[in-house]
């Protein structure tokens, strides 16, 4: 092939000697500015290596004379962002949670900030969007609240957590393990389950549920109320509605009565500042199940002061 190099008559240019089916390739010179562009990129590269971190070493890279680093830049941007958000954050921190809804813009900012904090700290148990996990962690989007669903109550729950053994102000209550501890016989438990399923309209009245009613009044009504209306002072769930945290079928209720779960939630005042907790409360409240009126439970707890364990 190399033998076919020649000068093309039409253009006066050398051919490269390559030929495909009679089509030859011209060896047209590149424009010179093109070469200069290449040199310019080389110069650019050298300057860049001098100015910025570039050369990988065993421990990190060369530093570059500008002292720039992506980590440093991130730090700066984070600081700038914190400064930008400071006015709103301060305003939220200075407003009592009950007054937030009266300031729609602040409330909106709090809900957005709370959504971000929720994604970091809460979704592990309560799920994205606060949907909860069936038979494990309660949904935060429905209208059924163990301890109350108004803003201040939610804030209190997040702050102090539930059943934290080493924290005085935490919310505490304990359902006895009726089966494990032998308080009720298995047949008696079956009767109580029949009664509970009757008041939640899952079963018809029966002899078993009639017997269960008596047992319920003696053992359960003190927390759950005679009609199964629940008791928020002690976080006792409503038993006559459609929502069952640990399942509403016979087997699930039997398991709960035999060996209750007594679920635990961490207190967040050891890890989050009050402003963030306030925003979290606002976000949870906004999920659609928030209640307007403060729960009587909170009023009672507040009257007794922090540390009231709420045990009957």
């Amino acid at each position: 092939m190399a033998d076919h190099k020649r000068i093309d008559e039409v253009t006066g240019t050398h051919t490269s000697g390559h030929e495909w089916d009679g089509i030859e390739e011209l060896d047209t010179p590149m424009p010179r500015w093109w070469l200069w562009s290449l040199y310019a990129t080389i110069v650019w590269g050298i300057v860049y290596v001098i100015l910025y971190p570039a050369w990988p070493m065993i421990h990190g890279a060369t530093e570059g004379v500008l002292g720039w680093s992506s980590r440093g830049q991130l730090e700066q941007e984070m600081q700038a962002d914190a400064a930008r958000r400071a006015p709103v954050m301060n305003a939220i921190a200075a407003t009592s949670i009950a007054d937030l809804p009266a300031k729609p813009e602040l409330m909106q900012a709090a809900v957005q900030g709370g959504a971000a904090a929720f994604r970091v700290h809460c979704v592990q148990c309560h799920g994205a969007g606060g949907a909860g996990v069936k038979k494990l962690y309660p949904s935060l989007t429905d209208d059924d609240w163990l301890w109350g669903g108004d803003l201040a109550t939610i804030e209190y729950t997040i702050t102090h957590g539930i059943r934290n053994p080493d924290h005085k102000a935490t919310r505490t209550s304990q359902m006895p393990a009726f089966g494990r501890d032998g308080i009720l016989e298995p047949t008696q438990i079956a009767d109580v389950v029949s009664f509970v399923r009757t008041i939640s309209h899952q079963e018809k009245r029966s002899a078993s549920s009639a017997r269960g009613a008596v047992l319920f009044e003696a053992n359960c009504a003190v927390c759950h109320g005679s009609t199964g209306n629940g008791g928020r002072e002690v976080g006792a769930p409503k038993l006559n509605d459609a929502i069952w945290l640990y399942g509403g079928d016979r087997a699930s209720i039997t398991a709960t009565v035999t060996q209750p779960r007594n679920g635990v939630m961490p207190r967040w005042n050891s890890r989050l500042d009050p402003g963030t907790i306030k925003m979290l409360a606002a976000y949870v409240y906004s999920l659609g199940g928030g209640e307007k009126a403060p729960a009587p439970a909170l009023a009672a707890a507040a009257a007794e002061g922090p540390g009231a364990d709420g045990q009957p």
């Binding site: 969007g129 949904s139 509605d241 459609a242 659609g288």
Partner: protein, 485 residues
């Protein structure tokens, strides 16, 4: 490091310095047409941002404005929102088909007349002629040593280049903000940094591309010539040197001595001298030819001088060239312009244009977008009812506040409420006020009886409660237990 000239292979230098192009002044119908196009395109480019258009109190009064901050595009009476970007897509498709249409009919007309690179190169070449003189004077000056005169002329020329380039860059930013305000801010140092950067970049690129790189952009950098080659066929118009009529070439004197032995070309090189890309059209069709037809003007005036018919260089299709070569007569030009291919392109182009105009006329300025929240898909309520949550995006694209009503249909027993409401306040429909020219976003809670299909389609509709009740609706799902994947 070796200098570029030392990078020699066995065939000579690998890199070639640019050969100067000093196009000669020419006059003729095509040159005058090119002047006209240049005047119109430049006037549009520099002038458009200064046209005012009254839209009332809530909107800017600039006729053509790309408002990036508020994400609006204004073009006279038309206002485009980001979600209506398909209009821009439609325009791009029209531009694409338009290019097919123009190229298949009249070849590289875009390159020759309307391309910004062509227009600004032409402008800068005109500056060359004003300051350095015509072709010969320019060549003389380029080869002359650096005398005081040359330094003065060069300084003056580059100053004019820079002024034009700056003006060009400056006009660009006027499309993105209120032009009078921006001009004031720009000169008082109050404009956004991005404005200064944009002007600087565009000034630099105009200066370099229009002042120096010129035809090299067309030949080495631009993809259009390659694409256009594929879009043309043997019926597309090209600037063609009719070698069957011109060859062999001879001067007028030589031809007089030997009548009948020579063609019409008098080898005066005028066609080469006027060419803005510095090519010789007599070597046949080539990628460097932008079909600006200046060589036609030049050759026609030569033919007139020597008393031969015009059109030795002329617009001509490959088919016509074959016909004429064989001694036939080319069909009239309308046969070239109106043939199935161009008519089809035109039909497509026009149909898309009409469709866009039609939808522009029909579009409502109250728009609804609903998103079903997925986590959770539904919420079980304590009384057995089921709640689904939605995010509503309500666009009030009119420049007045509006009162609207949101209603449901197809979901029996359903009630709805929105942010700030609660289930106690739920109704079958709700009213909201929308701020002018804004997107309002709201969460919509819908509660429906627990008994029903696991997945049920229903409709959310909005309508305005004023003189223009046109609204929008969307069909979306309501989920109940049993729909989990």
């Amino acid at each position: 490091m070796a200098s570029p000239d030392d990078l020699t292979g066995e065939h000579g230098s690998l890199y070639a310095a640019r050969k100067g192009v000093y196009p000669k002044k020419v006059d003729g119908p095509f040159r005058r047409f090119k002047w006209a196009i240049m005047a119109v395109t430049l006037a549009i480019y520099y002038g458009t941002p200064w046209i005012r258009w009254d839209r009332g109190p809530h909107a800017p009064d600039q006729a053509v404005l790309v408002d990036l901050a508020n994400r609006r595009f204004y073009m006279f009476q038309i206002e485009i929102w980001p979600h209506e970007f398909y209009y821009v897509a439609g325009l791009l498709i029209m531009a694409g088909i338009g290019l097919f249409l123009v190229t298949s009919a009249v070849g590289r007309a875009w390159c020759g007349y309307a391309c910004p690179q062509t227009v600004w190169t032409d402008l800068f070449q005109h500056v060359d002629r004003l300051i350095d003189g015509d072709r010969n004077a320019q060549i003389r000056l380029a080869n002359a040593p650096w005398t005081a005169e040359k330094i003065v002329k060069r300084t003056l020329k580059y100053a004019v280049y820079l002024t034009v380039a700056f003006w060009t860059g400056g006009a660009w930013i006027m499309y993105f903000a209120d032009a009078p305000t921006l001009t004031h801010d720009f000169w008082t140092g109050q404009a956004a940094p991005v404005a200064y950067v944009t002007v600087a970049v565009l000034t630099a690129t105009t200066f370099v591309l229009g002042g120096f790189l010129r035809e090299q952009v067309c030949i080495y950098m631009c993809p259009w010539p390659r694409i256009q080659t594929a879009m043309m066929d043997e019926k597309s118009l090209l600037v063609t040197y009719k070698d069957w009529r011109g060859e062999p070439r001879a001067s007028v004197k030589k031809a007089e001595k030997n009548p009948g032995a020579f063609g019409d070309c008098v080898d005066c090189n005028q066609c080469v001298a006027v060419c803005p890309t510095g090519i010789d059209i007599r070597e046949g069709p080539q990628i460097g030819c932008i079909t600006c037809a200046l060589c036609i003007d030049a050759c026609d005036s030569v033919m007139a001088q020597v008393g031969r018919p015009r059109g030795l260089i002329d617009y001509c299709t490959l088919d016509d060239a074959a016909t004429e070569k064989a001694g036939g007569v080319a069909p009239p030009i309308r046969k070239t312009l109106f043939r199935p291919r161009t008519l089809l392109y035109f039909g497509l182009w026009g149909a898309i244009g009409l469709a866009m105009l039609f939808t522009l006329g029909q579009r409502t300025r109250l728009d609804l977008a609903v998103q079903h929240e997925r986590s959770p898909l539904y919420v079980q309520l304590s009384d057995g009812a089921i709640r689904n949550n939605y995010t509503l995006k309500l666009r009030n694209m009119e420049l007045r506040p509006r009162m609207i009503e949101v209603t449901l249909s197809g979901l029996p027993g359903a009630r709805l409420w929105t942010d700030g409401g609660a289930r106690e306040t739920a109704r079958q429909s709700l009213r909201m006020s929308l701020a002018p020219d804004r997107v309002t976003s709201a969460r919509l809670f819908i509660v429906a009886p627990g008994a029903g299909p696991a997945r049920q389609e229903f409709m959310i509709a909005v309508r305005a409660l004023d003189d223009d009740p046109r609204g929008d609706s969307e069909t979306i799902q309501f989920d109940r237990p049993g729909t989990e994947p």
